[in-house]
């Protein structure tokens, strides 16, 4: 299809504008992470896009090398929260994806499970916060408060509906004939699932896992309620980065935000080749 030159120019201008607007927060965070304290809250002519005196002090600060012993809020470094976020998000994603994939396959192929889809979607009919008090009581009884295992299990449960429904859509769209052919050749059902279905579902698994991981990785409220000290996650730790000396520790928050952006970006790049395929999987019906 041929388009007129003015239309193409307009189209690209709009694309550039939207990309620029979308990138502003990220670029601002990148810039702030390297700004010294004097530039954090500059106003008027002192406000610049890029750091005038770039520094790594913000990164040193969150890892415990404070340049001023009067910054009052930092009584723990970012190391443990990063570890906590990694463990809880990874294992939460594994739980959600394992259970969600198995349940979706069963339902898609055998029609078994009765009210399972409805039961699972119920978990998303109300905000997770609505059930946090009973969850906290149960978790407390089980000794899972302030514990990455407890957090992972909760993340797994909360994101299970996403994993289930995404995977079910993908399974529904996968031709059954391929599995039937393998069964006719003598493959067991389990072998078909492990050796044929799952490898074919790699794009779907990748895109679903990334989505679920980002949900777990960026959670604040559940982590705030289920952790107290040892296993607070990055978002909870970030909320404590303020001080009476300077107000919000914008530089330290930006530095931590930059670090927090790394795992999803790496994960995204690692599964990039599957991602586009996963996102368009089943888009065209035969």
């Amino acid at each position: 299809m041929r388009r007129s030159l003015p239309f193409e120019m307009f189209r690209y201008a709009m694309i550039l504008l939207i990309v620029a607007i979308s990138l502003v927060p990220t670029l601002w965070m990148l810039s702030m992470a390297f700004k010294p304290i004097a530039e954090w809250s500059a106003t008027g002519p002192d406000l610049t896009w890029w750091p005038q005196k770039p520094t790594l002090d913000n990164f040193r600060f969150i890892f415990g090398q404070s340049s001023s012993d009067l910054i009052v809020s930092l009584d723990r470094t970012a190391v443990r929260p990063i570890l906590s976020s990694l463990l809880s998000a990874i294992f939460g994603t594994l739980i959600a994806m394992s259970a969600g994939t198995a349940a979706a396959y069963g339902l898609s192929r055998f029609g078994k499970g009765g009210n399972l889809p409805l039961a699972l979607i119920q978990l998303r009919l109300f905000p997770p916060m609505a059930v946090m008090i009973p969850v906290m009581i149960m978790w407390s009884f089980l000794g899972l408060i302030d514990n990455w295992v407890g957090l992972s299990v909760n993340y797994g449960i909360v994101t299970l509906p996403f994993a289930f429904w995404l995977m079910k859509t993908f399974f529904d769209d996968m031709p059954r004939e391929i599995e039937d052919a393998a069964l006719v050749e003598g493959c067991t059902r389990l072998r078909v699932f492990l050796k044929i279905t799952l490898p074919m579902m790699r794009p779907a698994l990748a895109s679903s896992a990334l989505f679920v991981f980002i949900l777990n990785w960026s959670d604040y409220l559940i982590a705030l309620l289920l952790t107290t000290r040892s296993w607070v996650t990055i978002p909870v730790y970030m909320a404590s980065l303020s001080s009476s000396m300077t107000g919000q520790l914008y530089g330290a928050k930006a530095a931590l935000g930059l670090i927090a952006a790394i795992p999803p970006v790496i994960l995204g790049i690692a599964i990039q080749k599957h991602l586009v395929r996963g996102l368009t999987f089943g888009a065209l019906k035969e």
Partner: protein, 533 residues
């Protein structure tokens, strides 16, 4: 004579002399006073910090609240009735005052407690603003994560009603904290203690803070001859820290130059904080005070005074940051440190942090002044009022295995000697509130002389916020309606009418009899100071 047992005359004399010196000298050397001197404590003292000039001011004898607390904690521990470890949940920003040694050469508060009692003090940081959430979480889930909670002062009623905190009357009677001491204790004596530590006549908390909202201004701007001339030319009176709300609004408007990165006045307007400014405007509407409720529990805010205060509050946005409704204190402190405002109203610790040579990021070091809250001229007198808001107060959890030991830590921490030493430490948010704090040289050095006197006078003009049962609900209703008025989704009249309506429902839910009793106790602590015009 048996040669084996023979002793020479020289040896006998030498041994006898040595024995005499040791026999006579040892008791002298081991006398209790000398033993104390060896530890650095002054005569008669049994504990306290050593190692820095003036440390003796914070040392204590056996017949002091601190001494009794330490001795009792040691006795409990010896009898196996104390915890090995006391867990204190505390705002992140306050921990430094307990864990960082101050001044140079001193131990930390935590180290001193542990050395004197043998009981470990374990402090768990709680994100600022999440204190009440964490406490309610621990109470409702029976988590038992803390022995001591530290939450906003006016939550005591709500917490006591949950049964999650211990009634401390028995321990107060046994260990005599002397909070109402006329020379060293709380401002207002027994009334002050009743206000800050008690709920319905019983002790449920120990105050660890002095959040009397205090006004600050920039001396470089107010002292600038060019600014003074321009202001006098425009308004016809001399530029000086405002005494009335009218002057405050004019001065704030005069300095409001957002194009130059300068706002007129940045007292807070966000949800959860903004009503501290509304309170100051509202309660100074009548002499000696414009109360929130009548003695019979009828709300008074849906009135001409309530509407006028709200309209004033809304209009004051004109000399604030365009982001005022989303600013909390960290933005406020950051802005003021960057010389971004002419005036502000904040915790009394603002000069401690921002007028501080150690704060390399502050552009206002040496440029901060303090003044009394603006007021109103009524019947020939000036009604100037501030407000007590946030103010961390510590309570003992009913889930603590040994609540008495936890209380003893609070008696020790909240006593006038240890608290003065602690509040002088620039490592956290605990602010002065006891008479001994305001006079203490180390506190005055950290907080600055110019500021301490103003804070002491502000305390005398401070009204308490709502601390009745349902305080959280009452404040939320007021807060939500004030934010609605600020964002122009309601008029001032609607906001006050809706608040009154919600307050009536809350009062019915709580029980009006219980409320009336608490309102009377709260009103007894309201100030009566009227300044000359």
């Amino acid at each position: 004579m048996d040669k084996k047992n023979a002793v020479s005359r020289r040896a006998f004399l030498s041994s006898a002399t040595s024995a005499g010196v040791v026999g006579l000298g040892l008791p002298l050397y081991l006398r209790p006073g000398r033993a104390r001197a060896a530890t650095g404590l002054a005569d008669g003292m049994i504990g306290g910090p050593v190692g820095f000039d003036g440390a003796e001011r914070y040392q204590y004898g056996p017949d002091t609240p601190e001494g009794r607390a330490i001795e009792a904690a040691k006795a409990l521990k010896a009898a196996g009735k104390a915890l090995e470890r006391i867990v204190l949940g505390l705002s992140d920003g306050s921990i430094g005052q307990i864990t960082q040694p101050f001044p140079a050469g001193a131990p930390s508060i935590k180290d001193l407690w542990e050395a004197e009692t043998g009981i470990i003090l374990d402090i768990v940081g709680v994100p600022n603003g999440q204190e009440f959430t964490k406490v309610m979480q621990d109470i409702s889930t029976k988590g038992g994560a803390f022995d001591i909670y530290a939450v906003e002062w006016n939550r005591l009623g709500d917490l006591a009603e949950t049964g999650g905190i211990v009634n401390l009357d028995e321990y107060v009677a046994a260990h005599k904290p002397e909070w109402d001491d006329a020379e060293r204790g709380y401002v207002g004596g027994a009334n002050g203690v009743n206000l800050m530590n008690n709920y319905r006549g019983s002790t449920y908390g120990v105050s660890l803070d002095g959040d009397f909202q205090t006004w600050n201004h920039r001396t470089d701007l107010f002292g600038d001859p060019n600014e003074q001339k321009a202001f006098a030319d425009k308004f016809g009176y001399a530029l000086a820290p405002p005494k009335t709300w009218k002057q405050h609004d004019e001065i704030a408007g005069f300095f409001h130059r957002p194009d130059q990165g300068l706002f007129g006045s940045t007292d807070l307007r966000n949800q959860g904080w903004g009503y501290t400014n509304w309170y100051q405007r509202y309660v100074s509407m009548a002499s000696p005070n414009q109360f929130l409720f009548n003695d019979d529990g009828t709300s008074l805010i849906n009135s001409d005074n309530g509407v006028a205060a709200t309209n004033e509050y809304i209009a004051s946005l004109a000399h604030h940051s365009p982001d005022a409704i989303s600013w909390s204190w960290p933005e406020q402190y950051g802005n003021f440190a960057g010389a971004g405002a002419a005036m502000t109203c904040a915790f009394s610790n603002l000069p401690k942090f921002l007028d501080n040579a150690g704060n390399e990021g502050s552009k206002v070091t040496g440029k901060i002044g303090s003044h009394l809250p603006p007021g109103r001229e009524i019947d020939g007198g000036l009604i100037s009022r501030s407000v007590l808001w946030l103010n961390l107060s510590a309570s003992v959890s009913t889930q603590s295995a040994h609540p008495e030991a936890a209380y003893l830590l609070l008696q020790w921490l909240g006593s006038s000697r240890i608290y003065s030493w602690m509040t002088a430490n620039p490592g956290g948010y605990f602010d002065p509130f006891q008479l001994s704090n305001f006079a203490d040289p180390l506190v005055r050095q950290t907080y600055h002389d110019y500021h301490m006197d103003v804070v002491r006078e502000t305390v005398k003009r401070t009204v308490p916020t709502i601390n009745y049962p349902g305080a959280t609900a009452f404040h939320n209703a007021l807060d939500e309606n004030l934010v609605a008025a600020l964002t122009k989704t309601k008029t001032a009249e609607q906001a006050m009418a809706d608040t009154e309506s919600e307050w009536k429902k809350i009062a019915r839910r709580i029980g009006e009899d219980k409320l009336v009793e608490a309102i009377k106790a709260n009103k007894a602590a309201w100030p009566s100071v009227i300044d000359p015009v």
